[in-house]
């Protein structure tokens, strides 16, 4: 309705015309090349430069202009740009609630993909990965970087130095945390200021305490106030009340507060996803001093499974005028040569059926951790990662943060999330 306002349309048209005139990205240049724009919060500038160089070499008639922003700034920017009709040709979204909100602005990719890759293009993708980039069976983006979350990173060397073994049960984790505290070592470093981190840890734990019930609640088949989920909230809060988490966890971010604690060898445990493997590439000089491992997160109900999801999905702007070229870039980064460059930079897992391993030299410890994560992914994957509804995701994040700060009971936390689900 707002877009139908005459004045607004005229104003937006003026803005769009001005933007196009400034960027010159609308029409092919005299030499026949077209310029497309890419925006995201990932990968790093260095990796993106490598991708652009390889893509332009493979597609000399297409130039790419990339803009990378920190995640929070990116979300604000992309919303504003798309709403005003000045969005980029290709952009990154998270699966779940974010994809659902942006759906009507995205080009359905079946036609473009069939034209570029053939009718059976979807068969080359990991089914779960492509499903997370789709709504009702229609792909609205191409996935990149399959990741797991909810596992527990361990500094094995630090445990050994304190006479401790890697805990496999909740009581062992609590006892180890107590011993570590006494020795002046940070036990579990968890960035509880990040709602995504809390949701990852909770989701893994809930699938140990009450398997499947969180997915039932997220998909409308159950309530967040079920006994199983209340018990899950209780198990989650024990991380903080039983002294497992570091002091001041509720005020810490994963990047870089808790990452620093772990990478600098000051924390014995670290809550983070498989994407943390990139520390073997980007922080190798810091973590070389200790042996890292990834294990299942212990819970009072036993070891937690992991949850899995794509790092993002590369979407094509529905209102863009270079959709074919835009799709080529998305495909290049998702499953083409660009995927290899991305994996070399992040050590993520491939989203394609065909496995893709890092093409760079990595340490023996990095290979061991990668094998541990692969085993978790293969044998202990509970389900998808992203909460499908943005409102529920926000409410869940807030409720978990209150639990982390000890200002709410598990039952009340569950009730708050249920209220958001019913809203």
């Amino acid at each position: 309705m707002f877009n139908h306002s005459g004045r607004r349309t005229a104003l937006m048209g003026l803005v769009a015309a001005g933007a196009l005139a400034l960027t010159g990205c609308a029409a092919p240049a005299d030499d026949g090349t077209v310029t497309i724009t890419y925006e995201s919060w990932t990968p790093s500038q260095e990796v993106m430069d490598n991708i652009i160089e390889a893509f332009e070499a493979a597609n000399p008639d297409i130039k790419v202009e990339a803009k990378l922003l920190p995640y929070a700034d990116y979300v604000t920017a992309i919303k504003t740009e798309l709403a005003s009709g000045t969005g980029p040709d290709v952009f990154d979204l998270q699966a779940g609630g974010m994809l659902a909100e942006f759906q009507s602005l995205l080009e359905p990719l079946d036609e473009l993909a069939s034209a570029e890759l053939g009718d059976d293009w979807a068969a080359s993708y990991n089914e779960d990965a492509l499903a997370q980039a789709s709504i009702d069976g229609t792909a609205y983006g191409l996935p990149h970087g399959f990741q797991t979350a909810g596992g527990l990173w361990v500094n094995v060397s630090l445990l050994e130095a304190n006479g401790l073994e890697v805990p496999t049960a909740w009581d062992e984790l609590v006892a180890a945390s107590s011993a570590l505290r006494a020795a002046g070592v940070v036990p579990l470093a968890i960035g509880a200021k990040d709602d995504w981190m809390l949701i990852d840890v909770f989701s893994a734990m809930s699938n140990a305490v009450a398997p499947g019930e969180q997915y039932d609640a997220m998909e409308g088949r159950g309530d967040w106030t079920s006994d199983g989920l209340v018990a899950s909230f209780e198990a989650f809060s024990a991380i903080f009340s039983d002294g497992v988490a570091q002091d001041g966890a509720a005020g810490a971010t994963t990047y870089t507060d808790t990452f620093d604690l772990y990478a600098d060898g000051k924390a014995a445990f670290f809550a983070n996803g498989s994407w943390n493997q990139d520390m073997f590439v980007n922080a190798a000089d810091r973590i070389g001093a200790f042996e890292a491992a990834v294990v299942q997160m212990p819970t009072p109900a036993g070891p937690a499974p992991v949850i899995g999801g794509i790092g993002g999905l590369l979407a094509v702007n529905k209102d863009g005028d270079q959709k074919a070229a835009a799709f080529k870039l998305a495909q290049f980064m998702s499953s083409g040569e660009g995927q290899q460059i991305l994996i070399d930079g992040s050590l993520d897992f491939a989203v394609t059926v065909e496995p893709v391993e890092p093409g760079i030299e990595i340490s023996d410890n990095a290979r061991e951790v990668r094998a541990q994560l692969t085993a978790l992914l293969t044998d202990h994957l509970a389900g998808y990662r992203e909460v499908p509804d943005a409102g529920v995701k926000s409410a869940l994040g807030q409720a978990l943060l209150k639990l982390a700060a000890g200002t709410i009971s598990p039952a009340d936390a569950a009730a708050e999330v249920q209220a958001a689900a019913a809203d």
């Binding site: 309705m1 707002f2 609630g97 940070v186 509880a192 002091d247 509720a250 005020g251 507060d257 700060a405």
Partner: protein
């Protein structure tokens, strides 16, 4: 007949050129202030995710949410506490610094500059800086306290709901006290020397000079700073967002951070717009009240 009523009312029909002169101002006001405000209030009447053209008319529902939501009420309480702490310390500290550092001298000049430096720093940078200083496990404050044997004083200031708001407010004071100091310094230069000399001849001691001469004389400056500080409090966003994101448990949530979360994380642009409209109206009302009170004070 009073002077006010004796003034001739301008007859716009007889001086069309005057309209042309004020037209640019009116146009700028209309395009950049009035239109966005009205538009924002209008958006508040819809359910809208801020992205697409799909909207649902909900009437005053979003405004009712603003006035009934416990989350919004919590931000009002937090704003009050945050405002009282920051305004009192900024103005009080700024005044004392201005008095202490007024006058000639290289050291005073250096100190004035040092106190003013935070004002020109972006709050985001200051937020990151203090985030690192206050980090409870390996932060600079903890390491300092440990080094001097005061480790028992360590505390997770930003992670404890009972201390987070005060901690953020104090960082905000650090950021802006130099601004208040500079304003008071400028105002102090307008104090007539004769007034000070007369007070001294009458036997006024230093503290009496400050409390009974300077403070009353600077009343217009107090009101100006108070007005700016109240508006600044209602607009505070970046320093809180970087330091705590409104947490933990909403203990530092301000209307602006809630607005951001509602609009950009929960995709409820209608509610965010309604909240923004109410914030504006509150700021407008408070400013009008302060100006009227200040004017009455001046008339006395």
């Amino acid at each position: 007949m009073s002077i006010a009523t004796a003034r001739r009312r301008p007859d716009w029909r007889r001086s069309p050129a005057a309209i042309l002169f004020i037209l640019p101002c009116v146009a700028v006001f209309g395009v950049f202030l009035a239109y966005p405000l009205i538009r924002n209030a209008y958006v508040g009447l819809f359910e809208w995710n801020g992205l697409t053209s799909d909207t649902v008319w909900v009437g005053l529902e979003n405004f009712i949410w603003v006035f009934t939501s416990p989350a919004v009420f919590g931000t009002a309480v937090n704003t009050l506490v945050f405002g009282v702490i920051t305004i009192a310390l900024q103005m009080g500290g700024g005044f004392l610094l201005a008095v202490a550092l007024s006058g000639p001298g290289r050291l005073r000049q250096v100190l004035r500059t040092l106190y003013f430096i935070p004002v020109v720093m972006t709050p985001v940078v200051v937020g990151f800086l203090f985030g690192k200083i206050l980090e409870p496990n390996d932060g600079d404050l903890r390491n300092l306290l440990d080094a001097i044997g005061l480790g028992a004083l360590n505390h997770a200031w930003l992670a404890d709901p009972s201390t987070a708001l005060v901690a953020v407010a104090l960082v905000n004071v650090w950021l802006w006290v130099g601004f208040a100091m500079s304003v008071y310094q400028s105002a102090l230069t307008t104090v007539p020397k004769e007034l000070i000399e007369a007070a001294r001849i009458d036997g006024a001691r230093s503290h009496q000079l400050v409390t009974q001469v300077l403070l009353p004389f600077l009343r217009p400056t107090h009101w100006a700073l108070l007005t700016l500080s109240v508006i600044g409090t209602l607009k505070t966003f970046d320093i809180v967002y970087v330091l705590t994101r409104g947490g933990p448990s909403g203990s530092t949530e301000l209307p602006t951070t809630l607005l951001f979360r509602t609009g950009f994380e929960e995709y409820q642009q209608g509610r965010a717009a309604a909240l923004g409209t109410v914030i504006f109206l509150v700021a407008l009302a408070l400013t009008i009240i302060q100006l009227r009170v200040a004017r009455k004070g001046d008339e006395r």
